[in-house]
Symmetry: C2
Subunit: 179 residues, 2 copies
């Protein structure tokens, strides 16, 4: 890896975290490289910088595109593909959350839906009761994610900053509405 030292440590760290975030080491490194680079990069530059094979880069780029985290930007006078982050840091963050929801939550929700559908209405069944609890929790969570994703960044930021303070606002809402 032949990079400025501050960039290199970022790349190494994102590589180590990669697998925890749902992709693998090289894909994590590639993401860091593209995000922290001021200029668009092509596949050869990425392979060169990270010291990995061209084929591996091709697969990694496809993966990052399937996550909608990067996109190409044509460079006049060069037919190579040049890649840049697909939005601001904030947008990339939301994108990661949405994509992980799709991969980590949605399949389980459908599975539970299916199970609960074609099971006898034996509502005393312990396992079935647990299934419903998980199902309801996931449905709530997904609904919330969808809503969040529709909010404009400023409101969302306010909401996050407010944190549990929302509890107070909710109480206040009750009081106001009760009048």
């Amino acid at each position: 890896m032949n990079l400025p030292p501050n960039i290199e440590s970022l790349v190494v760290h994102f590589g180590e975290m990669g697998s925890r975030w749902g992709f693998n080491r090289t894909v994590g490194q590639m993401l860091a490289l593209i995000v922290f680079s001021e200029i668009p990069l092509n596949a050869d530059q990425i392979a060169e910088s990270l010291g990995i094979s061209r084929g591996n880069v091709s697969m990694g780029l496809k993966e990052l595109q399937s996550w909608r985290l990067i996109r190409t930007q044509p460079q006049p006078g060069d037919r190579k593909d040049y890649f840049i982050p697909n939005g601001t840091v904030w947008e990339l963050g939301l994108q990661v959350m949405q994509e992980r929801r799709k991969r980590e939550v949605d399949p389980t929700l459908s599975m539970l839906r299916g199970q609960l559908m074609n099971s006898d209405d034996d509502s005393n069944n312990y396992a079935q009761q647990k299934m419903r609890e998980i199902h309801d929790l996931l449905e709530l969570l997904i609904g919330w994610f969808d809503d969040i994703h529709k909010m404009n960044p400023d409101n969302l930021k306010t909401l996050l900053k407010l944190g549990s303070g929302v509890g107070k606002v909710l109480d206040m809402k009750d009081k106001v509405l009760r009048k």
Copy 2:
């Protein structure tokens, strides 16, 4: 695997999802088995039900305990360890989120803190600017997680149900406070 068919499909599914949730297949299967079982289970029963080795079960149980997702419950007249879920489905969900935050977000936040600390105050540096953006986003996210975790379940449920409706409540708050 020798289980009632409805339980078996749950176990298989949780196994498949396991690696996406931060552990491996067997650990996922073990979690499902324990959560969906009405009675506490011991290690031998788990090994037997899933058709895996005793040693593997021992490692998996340690993993699940390190996530605080299960705990032992002594059974009078039996010195084996019997395992049960460490709380309600809701609590397990929160626990998974908290644990993943620790493993997936905290390390990156510290790394960025470090980088931003001992870097020259060259605030025009593009990479440094991006680092700060990510740093601030993660800090916001973590603060919010902490807050959420402190809320009582009912308020939290209300909050989630409200979703982007919070936007309206926030507007209202502004109006009320402005008076």
